[in-house]
């Protein structure tokens, strides 16, 4: 069975009429780097919350279907047990800082304190995690004195230090500048290289094309299409449904209509575009 298995998942937030997720089916294998795209209200964040256990354990509401991670079912677990297996980081780095700690080192140790990890082990795990994300030099700074990119990496580290089996990221770079985006992506890339399973909601198409192993497009709370980034991100289905595509894809699409694009496949990145236009 797949590492992550979502079966017939339908979920409705309290006090809403239409379900946020409708009969969703999704399988994810261990070590995949999944990127999720979709318009506002397509259920991206809800899917993230569902994977991380906050739907339904935190938000309540009506749920049917099943979410399984590594053989364990979310419905049979409580939130505090579930969060140990699935780490969640989201958009606003500022709101992910606990506010209970005065230094970055303490901030990262917060989750381990809650989990009751012994002190000596805690220190080495925090140091290891900080090395992994390249923020060892920030250990003694106040989390509030950092830049957005640094704060987001602290938030990521705070989750990674808990050693989750699955990492769920809800638009972690949406408030970052290009430098911050690169910092965050390189950390996630390193993680997937070492075998971490990652599910990431992300709009920066060119970055997805570079790093993701699979792209899942959501619409109205269900999977619209999924597949390899180079296939999904250039498919007509995406444009018909109003998804944003890379500017290189748009250019090549237009060029193809006028016979200037000779290749069969449309590009996503600058490199692919340059290569394609060179093909005679």
């Amino acid at each position: 069975m797949a590492f992550v298995n979502i079966q017939n998942l339908t979920y409705k937030y309290p006090l809403t009429k239409t379900p946020a997720l409708q009969n969703m089916n999704l399988q994810i294998e261990k070590g995949e780097f999944i990127s999720i795209i979709g318009a506002n209200g397509s259920g991206k964040s809800t899917l993230c919350y569902a994977l991380a256990g906050f739907v339904p354990h935190f938000f309540k509401g009506e749920i049917s279907g099943e979410i399984e991670v590594d053989g364990a079912a979310s419905s049979k677990s409580t939130l505090d047990e579930w969060v140990v297996n699935v780490g969640l980081a989201f958009q606003n780095p500022f709101n992910q800082i606990s506010g209970a700690k005065y230094t970055v080192f303490e901030e990262i140790a917060f989750g381990l304190e809650n989990a009751g990890v012994p002190r000596e082990q805690m220190k080495s795990r925090v140091e290891e995690a900080m090395q992994l994300t390249g923020i060892s030099n920030l250990a003694d700074r106040s989390p509030y004195s950092l830049s957005g990119g640094q704060q987001q990496r602290v938030a990521l580290t705070s989750i990674l230090v808990m050693q989750p089996k699955l990492l769920v990221l809800d638009e972690p770079t949406s408030q970052m500048d290009p430098i911050g985006t690169r910092e965050v992506f390189s950390v996630i890339h390193n993680l997937t290289q070492s075998g971490m399973t990652v599910v990431m909601v992300e709009h920066k198409v060119e970055w997805i094309a570079h790093f993701a192993t699979r792209v899942i497009a959501l619409k109205d709370g269900a999977v619209l299409t999924e597949g390899k980034p180079s296939d999904v991100l250039t498919s007509d289905l995406l444009i018909e449904n109003g998804f944003g595509v890379s500017r290189y894809t748009s250019v090549a699409r237009e060029a193809k209509k006028q016979g200037l694009w000779k290749k069969d496949k449309l590009p996503v990145t600058l490199f692919e575009a340059a290569e394609g236009f060179n093909t005679k």
């Binding site: 969060v83 209970a100 005065y102 917060f110 009751g116 004195s145």
Partner: protein, 259 residues
């Protein structure tokens, strides 16, 4: 860097090295004795002969005197005036101020109250100056204080300056759209709503996100929490705490016995 709402001065002194709970007990000993010990000059005595030397021992005398002159003494002075003029006790009028008069008894009473207040705030100031808030809270949590309670205290201390900064941003944003924040009182009062609205509603949204963020890190885990920092609790600490508790009890007993 944002300003933090913390009085803690990082220094190495005898007092800094004490266990936070010992210091907390010390604070309550000061308060307990100042309020119950049946001697008229006890407040002044504690202030001059115990608290001030303590400030020097703790190496925070400069910061302490700063707080004392700016906050503690003015507050105590104000309280003294109020009590002296408004307490309707005593016959022997010392001086009059229009229809208000200060008697020998009301002056004595006001002095006692003011001295107690000075001792109380000074003792707390000393605690805050020499104890890191997270150390205090992690020690108390280890002793059974609910983690949620400790979280509320610490995060409030940290998040208030952030809220202040955000309020400043909102004020600047609304002023740039022509909101009047500087003219007559009524106009300024009217401009409170467009300032408070975004701040309050924005904060409510943030609270939910922050709840999710700390929950994702196992905040409500039922496992027994551990703490990154080891807070030392020595035999000296334990002995000192018992001595202080005995002193408080003696003071209370003496008070009951003499009254």
């Amino acid at each position: 860097m944002h300003e933090r709402l913390s009085f803690y001065i990082k220094r190495d002194s005898l007092i800094h090295r004490l266990n936070p709970l010992t210091k907390l007990v010390l604070v309550f000993a000061f308060i307990g004795i100042a309020f119950t010990f049946p001697w008229y000059w006890i407040g002044l005595f504690l202030f001059v002969f115990v608290l001030i030397p303590l400030a020097f021992i703790a190496k925070v005398s400069r910061e302490y005197f700063f707080t004392a002159t700016r906050l503690i003494l003015p507050a105590a002075g104000f309280l003294f005036l109020m009590q002296a003029l408004f307490q309707p006790i005593g016959e022997e009028i010392i001086f009059q101020f229009y229809f208000l008069d200060a008697t020998r008894e009301s002056l004595a009473f006001a002095f006692t109250i003011a001295a107690r207040i000075i001792v109380m705030i000074s003792a707390f100031t000393m605690l805050l100056l020499t104890t890191h808030p997270s150390e205090l809270m992690s020690d108390l949590t280890r002793r059974g204080l609910p983690g949620q309670f400790a979280y509320v205290i610490i995060s409030t201390l940290q998040i208030l300056p952030q809220m202040q900064a955000k309020a400043q941003t909102i004020i600047a944003a609304q002023r740039s759209r022509g909101l009047d924040t500087e003219s007559t009182f009524l106009k300024r009062a009217g401009s409170v709503l467009p300032l408070v609205g975004p701040l309050v509603f924005g904060s409510l949204v943030e609270v939910e996100e922050r709840a999710i963020a700390i929950e994702a890190r196992g905040f409500t885990s039922k496992k027994e929490k551990t703490s990154l920092h080891e807070v030392p609790d020595t035999v000296t600490d334990k002995t000192l705490r018992w001595i202080l508790i005995i002193l408080i009890i003696l003071s209370i007993l003496l008070n009951l016995w003499l009254s």
